[in-house]
Amino acid sequence: MLRADVSPSRALPTHQQAEALQLVTPDGVRRPDPEYDPWIADVDDEQLEALYEDMVVVRRFDTEAVALQRQGQLGLWPPLLGQEAAQIGSARALRSDDFVFSSYRENGVAYCRGAQPTDLMRVWRGTALAGWDPRAIGMATPQVMIGSQTLHATGYALGCVKDGVDSVAVAYFGDGATSKGDVHEAMVFAATFTAPVIFFCQNNQWAISEPVGLQAQRPIADRAAGYGIPGIRVDGNDVLAVMAATRSALDRARRGDGPTFIEAVTYRMGPHTTSDDPTRYVNPEDKALWAAKDPIVRLERLLHARDALSEERISQVKEKAETFAAAMRSGCYGLPVPEPLSVFEDVFVEPSPALERQRSQYAAYLAMFDEEA
């Protein structure tokens, strides 16, 4: 009766099949939902097509980035394949004065916030530690330390309250991140101070090789209630459901009612990063099941059912995607190698004589090579 082993099951736990908000079925059929329908009542064909376009563009440039990495142009890339709806549906719900704190995989979100093709390349090509100016697009640069950004979002949200504005901070993180103490502390602070922050968890079932069953024994969204934070579990491959959930959470935050936790249930269709070898741990059958729930195909089906998405629009979308991908590629090639002495820049705002000394010594050292040559 007593077990003497401590190994958890590696199988995806059954709770992954638990109910989630779904407004569009994988077949593209619109499912009415009295609570959430109002949040997307304004989303007409044109807007649906715009969401479709976003997802296609994002998938296209994600593929391009993987190719660039394979060609040695990027050091690394974390593909978002499969998570387009989760990222686009949430990011397109935001206002420009909202602020996003994300992890490394949210390149779809960055696109929506206004990151330019080249901006998406810098970090992964290794020419800079950040791709863009966070304040310029209302989004912090990718956070590599798992979970840290949830606290930043909470603090930012408190700042919004102090400023008397109704902007909202959104923290993006993964299922793996939910195990981190920082994510817990962020939820404690957010609940205590009624912070206008959204905890947006993309549960893509994996933390590198670890299935979500190693992190959670209940649906992740269930964690929220214990803090007094509403938790919503949403089909992360359903762009409309994601948008509806996000809008309702944003509204709640703007009204001063505090944080919401959203779990977008999705699947990482690619490797963790281009360095990863998922054949070591992914069951192809699981993956096939998720392929059948593809977010783009689903929206395509819905649009076709609504007689929207003309051939013309499709080719427009394709072109936009190609253009963006091409701009990304050329932007990548064009990124200048930073000047050696820039190593010393921006450590401090105020002058540091000690660092200045190291810099000038290294400059003199480098100069010797020039003299020699």
């Binding site: 949830t150 606290l151 930043h152 930012y156 602070f189 205590t192 004589p353």
Partner: protein, 335 residues
């Protein structure tokens, strides 16, 4: 000029900062209603509101990470870590975020966060309440680390730290909180935050220290004087970056160096100071620089701390040693 304790000087410095700049906010455990376990924030919540002087949940990583978010939004958070030993849960946010976001973003986002940490031993406390973790932060690029030794410096430096656009870890010598001194609050013509100061002039030996041991070092200089020795005491004030220029000038004059701090020897500030000074002053050094520090043990039980902590005698012994004196209370070469 008013006479006040070091703790009161910090309190008035914080008060000025809150008055001068509406973006200054204080965060910490028990800093509001209670006024902090050392009463350094006494009365501030009453006068500036719970909105600017915030009691937070009991979670140091949370406090530090929330401060980062506030800084993103344009605030100047002043975080209190209740005791030195409780900074470790915040080290991750401090080292990987606070210290690096300005560098990471190529200068786009500043982190003008001040982290106040009461530190050091000698108060007979239980574990985790008597430590000197400054070397961890001094080894962390992107952080400024400072400490004060007098009420005047406490007052001036906390205001400078808060006004500084870089993150500053501000170590407060807790066993000196009740030391009294004259404080000029005019804030005119104050020395730069990153400069050391010669607090006793001398010609035979340079004695470098900071924080709680500055007073001890002054006493040692006095005692040495009776013995015919002229000891120059340098209060570092800034622990990162270290003002090596001031130290160099002193050692060029004296040719001898003793460094004393409470923190453990290995990898402590003493090592950095000796390495830097040996580099710069090799030609003038007359004897090997000597460290007088805590031992390479965890901070011991209260009844043993007098042995762990450098004191007047151990400092004088080191002074004798660098002077090559025969009859010093030494024994250091015994093994």
């Amino acid at each position: 000029m008013t006479t006040m304790t070091l703790a009161a000087a910090l309190n008035s410095g914080l008060r000025h900062a809150l008055d001068d700049d509406p973006t200054v906010v204080l965060l910490g455990e028990d800093i509001g209603t209670l006024g902090g376990v050392f009463r350094v924030t006494d009365g501030l919540q009453r006068d500036f509101g719970a909105d600017r002087v915030m009691d937070t949940p009991l979670a140091e990583s949370g406090i530090m990470g929330v401060a980062v978010g506030l800084a993103y939004r344009g605030y100047r958070p002043v975080v209190e870590i209740q005791f030195d030993g409780f900074v470790y849960p915040a080290v991750d946010q401090l080292v990987t975020q606070v210290a690096r976001i300005h560098y990471r973003t190529g200068g786009a986002v500043r982190m003008p966060i001040t982290v106040r940490i009461p530190y050091g031993g000698g108060i007979g406390a239980v574990e985790h309440h008597s430590e000197s973790p400054e070397a961890y932060f001094a080894h962390t690029p992107g952080l400024r680390v400072v400490t004060c030794a007098s009420p005047q410096d406490a007052h001036t430096m906390i205001r400078q730290a808060i006004a500084c656009d870089d993150p500053v870890v501000f170590f407060e010598p807790k066993r000196r909180y009740w030391v009294k001194g004259e404080v000029d609050e005019s804030f005119d013509d104050v020395p730069l935050l990153d400069r050391a100061r010669v607090v006793v002039e001398g010609t035979d030996v340079t004695l470098a220290t900071y924080g709680p041991l500055v007073i001890t070092a002054r006493d040692a200089a006095l005692a040495a004087q009776d013995d015919g020795l002229s000891v120059e005491v340098v209060d570092l004030r800034s622990l990162s970056p270290i003002d090596v220029d001031t130290l160099e000038a002193s050692v060029r004059k004296t040719g001898r160096l003793v460094v004393t701090h409470e923190a453990q020897a290995s990898g402590g500030l003493g090592a950095e100071i000796i390495a830097s000074i040996t580099d710069r002053c090799f030609d003038v050094l007359r004897s090997a620089p000597v460290r007088v520090t805590g031992f390479d043990t965890p901070y011991p039980a209260a009844k043993l701390e007098e042995h762990f902590l450098p004191d007047l005698d151990r400092i004088l012994d080191a002074v004798d040693r660098v002077m090559g004196r025969q009859h010093s209370l030494t024994g250091w070469r015994a093994s």
